[in-house]
Amino acid sequence: MNSIKHPELSTIFNEDEERVNWHDDTLWWIRAKRDKAAHGISEWEILRETASQIKDNVLSNLHQYLIDFEAKAQANGIVVHWAANAEEHNKIVLSLLQKKDIHQMVKSKSMLTEECHLNEYLEKNGIDVIDSDLGERIVQLAKEPPSHIVLPCIHKKKEEIGQLFHEHLGTEFGISDPQILTETARLHLRETFLTRRSALTGVNFAIAETGEFVVCTNEGNADMGAHLADIHIASMGIEKLIPKKKHLSVFLRLLTRSATGQPITTYSSHFKKPRKGQEMHIILVDNGRTVQLGRADFRNSLKCIRCGACMNTCPVYRRSGGHSYHNAIAGPIGAILAPNLDMKEYADLPFASTLCGSCTNVCPVKIDIHDQLYKWRQVIVKEGNTTAAKTMAMKVMDFTLSSPTRYKLAGKIGRWTIKHAPFTVNNKLNLWFKNREMPEAPKESFSEWFKKNK
């Protein structure tokens, strides 16, 4: 069990307030861009509703759509694999590479492979993996996990990236001009694309009707990798299906507007069949998804198209950073998905929210994110993933509040204490007091006042 949890990790993050301000401003700027893009489309809310309903349909008929997709994909010449969990997924990838005696792979960004910890696994097995998404490459060089699903290195300032490039890619010391850094990365990656024989991409949408899949990138790196490689492996979560090709337009209009405020992703690459001499594989991964599908209160979370809008808008994420969620997928949606995989390990995450509801409002597929966070809290406590101290405190609270007499007495004692013995509350043990003053104790409560004045 990971002992460092969200409150501690975000306390560390908050030690550098300047950095928190910068992180918050950067993400808020993206949220503002998203607002502008959304408000530019009068039918925005209808689009969201449509996307949500399409995904509802997918989840209700997932079994059939998967079978349809498999048959169509096979007919197109794609080899279809099924993986029940992360381990199976990783093994399939490795065996495909070993069969062809390949030791180097270029990868486009895929949160599923992060979820499966594929890079570490392949590296342990002698395969050299290069992430070709620029942000992902940067965190790879820094030996860190991504902190955001769309903007993997949003937590890094350009000076820090310059330093990394200086160390790993030979740029001059002290260079932080984004133009120069991007150029350097391009050159470095171009060489990778030309020399690697295998490429792995994620999948944004897979179409049951046609057996094809679509990968969205802003840098075109998925195409570059896939087109030049002898073998293209695509990893997808089973929830990525949409029924028909015509539904794609709904999602493509929503995806980047929600993610970055762009009208559409720069490259939406469609893959339908392998080119001559190439092998194309797709791995359909469950890894907890069917369990979540079976949890009535949480199945909606499988509608997620991974746009990251909920993270950008989340006031907690913006001030705690993606790494504080200690999980591949951070932010509000990560806090719903993670406990499904390991409730004990991620019991802290549904509590890392004020339930303000902003995430639910920006979500392009209308996931009831903040309501699910509330529901997870109930499940987590019921299953015993809480502390004895907290349970005790809550029982005392119930005891006090369930009797008007006890409540009034407790209120009196509380107010008396604040007034006459402030040192008992204004101290280090009281977390409220660390950065905030306590409320003043009035001379009488409302109910006491009412008794005299009614």
Binding site: P315, F351, Y374, K390
Partner: protein, 244 residues
């Protein structure tokens, strides 16, 4: 029309003035208000901490206290939302449902039920309106910046009727203040930072007072203001609507 006044526990204990203003305001508007003396808390602090199963006693008490009224009104969006969404009682489920349907936050009661068009109040100051999340996104007291929607604001509608009051414009119109019930201590670092940032937005834009339809957010921001030794004050919206 018989109205029951629900004064949430922390308002009762720490902010009696907000409750007094609510009572007087309703009386001024000719409402027949009752205050059931045996009330305590809506149970939200337990429920939001994952202990909804311990709220049975609070729920029972709440139903006992408030079943008889035509409306239940409370100066706290957050508590009202909790009652609306989560009040249950196995033995009296239909009563619980009934209570959930007739509970109103003060502002929405004034705008939607009483349809107040004229408030006899004067408050010649620059005021920042904090849109508390549970009131705004939960009870739809105003439109939300994330949605593509026709803008409206019930609290603003009322504040605009107050003589001399000047509403300041915030840089981020509806960001959360970070209170969040037990979140404020469980996630102390993030909560405090959110509170600081929220307060800063009001200060930067020249507020002399910060108001809201939820005292809990105001309590949080007041704690931050006082730690900064700021002379900007917080006031519940009822206190402004009742100011002469």
């Amino acid at each position: 029309m018989k109205v029951g006044l629900f004064v949430p526990c922390y308002v009762d204990q720490f902010y009696p003035n907000a409750a007094i203003a609510t009572l007087k305001l309703l009386q001024k508007l000719g409402v027949d208000v009752y205050y059931p003396p045996n009330q305590t808390c809506c149970g939200q602090p337990m429920a939001n901490s994952g202990y909804e199963h311990l709220t049975g006693n609070c729920n029972r008490l709440f139903i006992e206290n408030f079943s008889e009224f035509d409306y239940i009104v409370s100066p706290s969006g957050s508590c009202v939302l909790h009652i609306k969404d989560h009040l249950h009682d196995e033995k009296r489920e239909s009563d619980a449902l009934n209570v959930r349907h007739k509970v109103y936050e003060l502002v929405e009661f004034l705008t939607d039920i009483l349809k107040v068009k004229e408030i006899n109040a004067s408050f010649p100051f620059k005021v920042g309106l904090h849109q508390s999340c549970h009131g705004q996104r939960g009870l739809h007291l105003s439109s939300m910046s994330e949605l593509v929607d026709t803008p409206f604001s019930k609290p603003m509608q009322l504040l605009n009727q107050v003589k001399g009051l000047e509403i300041i414009t915030l840089t981020r119109p509806d960001e959360c203040c970070g209170f969040g019930g037990t979140f404020c201590v469980v996630e102390e670092a993030v909560s405090s930072k959110m509170g600081k940032d929220r307060v800063e937005d009001h200060l930067m834009n020249g507020a002399e007072y910060i108001t809201a339809a939820d005292m809990s957010c105001l309590m949080h921001m007041e704690g931050i203001l006082k730690r900064k030794n700021s002379n900007v004050k917080v006031l519940h919206i009822a206190e402004i609507l009742n100011a002469e």
